[in-house]
């Protein structure tokens, strides 16, 4: 997994609530058997017009947001389906970080498994960053994961909380399957105990 340490980049504003994973990536793109190539399909239904051309009013079709790496958005982002394709599509576009008041649970887990940092902040703080994100060429934020701060264009720092284990995995770019396989003996011990107590779980 790619490490996440610090990131300075353009922040794009998406002031919508309850952005669901069907909106992030429609089901027809779920037929792929790869993780890559989904960037062009990100937000398809609101990014393109019916004839397939770009909707010039949609934020990611405008400069400088075509190269945005941080997304600032509303509450309950990523609700709905468990499709990790939503994260792959955001990643494919170039996003490495999403900032919102809160996120849906499954999307939240999926993002961190792909080296993407999700930052939860109180609505007032998100409102400030949303204003920053609306400043076009000046919509530049810095995210420092080690120090757990978002730095606004005017230099003000906003602190964020994050689970220490998730932080560690992102900073080090750890593959958690490899981490868990190091605990193989503990898993075996658990299995033999469980098999003795509830044998019908083993066929």
């Amino acid at each position: 997994m790619e490490k996440f340490t610090t990131l300075t980049g353009i922040a794009a504003p998406l002031p919508m609530i309850n952005v669901d994973t069907d909106k992030i990536i429609p089901a027809k793109w779920l037929k792929t058997i790869k993780r890559t190539g989904l960037g062009p399909a990100l937000f398809e239904a609101i990014r393109y017009r019916q004839d397939g051309s770009e909707d010039p009013d949609f934020v990611l079709n405008k400069e400088p947001y075509r190269k945005a790496e941080i997304l600032v958005t509303g509450e309950n982002f990523g609700c709905g389906s468990s499709r990790e394709h939503a994260v792959w599509a955001l990643n494919g576009f170039g996003f490495r970080c999403v900032i919102a008041p809160d996120f849906a649970d499954i999307f939240y887990s999926n993002a961190f498994k792909n080296g993407m940092l999700l930052i939860k902040l109180p609505q007032e703080e998100v409102d400030k960053l949303m204003e920053d994100a609306e400043k076009g060429e000046n919509a530049r934020l810095t995210v420092d994961l080690e120090r757990q701060v978002v730095v606004r264009p005017d230099g003000e720092e906003i602190h964020f909380d994050i689970d220490p284990f998730r932080k560690h995995c992102l900073l080090e770019g750890l593959d958690d399957v490899a981490l868990t396989l190091q605990k193989k003996e503990e898993i075996e011990t658990f299995e033999s105990g469980q098999k003795a107590a509830t044998p019908w779980l083993y066929r």
Partner: protein
Amino acid sequence: MAAPKTLFDKIWDSHVVRRDEDGTCLLYIDRHMVHEVTSAQAFEGLRLSGRKVRRPDATLLVADHNVPTTDRGQPIADEDSRIQVETLEKNAAEFGLPYIPLTDARQGIVHIIGPEQGFTQPGMTIVCGDSHTATHGAFGALAFGVGTSEVEHVLATQTMIQKPAKNMRITVTGSPHHGVSAKDIILAIIGKIGTAGGTGHVIEYAGEAIQALSMEGRMTVCNMSIEGGARAGLVAPDETTIAYLKGRPMGPREDEWEAAVAYWRSLPSDEGATYDTEVSLSAADIEPLVTWGTSPEDVLPVTGAVPDPATARDEGKRRSMERALEYMGLEAGTRLTDIPIQTAFIGSCTNGRIEDLRAAAAIAKGRKVAEGVRALVVPGSGLVKKQAEDEGLDAVFLEAGFEWREAGCSMCLAMNPDKLAPGERSASTSNRNFEGRQGPGGRTHLMSPAMVAAAAIKGRISDVRDFD
């Protein structure tokens, strides 16, 4: 004496392989269901790292999302869908995993066949790369949806890295009026707590109205936990659960049955167990419900009218209501029963079980689908289909003008050929009314199976209570 525990606490505690100082747990997973859409990249990950599947005996593969619901004798016409299903078959063979093929009578939606086969049992931890895995919580199993990376993690290690969720109890007291089903109960709950109300929680559904439900009804309720933001929902196992599981092919063997039942009976929450969040509603207050917008929380009694965004609680919600009305092609103040529909869909992991088909057939019997309405019945599994045919329900539907299809996810998410055209409006028993969910530009109104049948017959959203 040990502190009283909730059902969730009991299942969690009995599956912790290891607990780190910060509370992060390595949680053992008893059952893993795998479908074609979210697994190919996970198997590819195993292949690239030379890893095996740890518990093939605890893993079950089936294709459901992409599969056509018409002729099963032909190869799948859509190339990408066909490749995805073939990839699942190849992975089953390569990793030595149990797989239910498309031509097997047991094939169906993963969340319908798990319980049907007895693969789902009380007290288990269950995952699947699908957010509606919460369905299995109806059995008192801790079941949740995961992404593809977690699918790979579970295949390789049979565990997940997780922190415990918070406990929420939703008590539905009393008994519902005639015409009100399990679907209305869960829609009422989502309307009350909101689509993020259960975020970070596991919901235990309790109260007389829940206890009185059949297993099918409990599955409908637990299924939509995710639409209320919760990754998992639970109902305490009881005699209804035990009776359902008796004799299921993948359940405990006869010589293990008594021990299994004794264990299941130990699972319900202890007297005095506490919850982080408690919600209560009265079943008698619930009416047949319909969604008007593009979030499952946008729900109203069928007797209501499309709401006015001016009444929204805040600016964000007002904007989202305005957008929803524009997308849905609706105006504030329109009575819900004045909204015409072009398609009726009965099926999905929410409402594709035998009881759902019976409820819809009871309305359809002796009546005709309105002119210009396309009405589909898609059983949740081959076994549901067979049972319905044995009961003569297929004849009732066909006689009324419904199409009678093969099992699969179908128009719930429109990955197969069953989809809405732009602007087309459906009455649907599925679980999500998101923009584009049933096809780009499609407009979805969620409701119960009987309500969808009623809408199909009238050609507009209708109150099932008028059909008596």
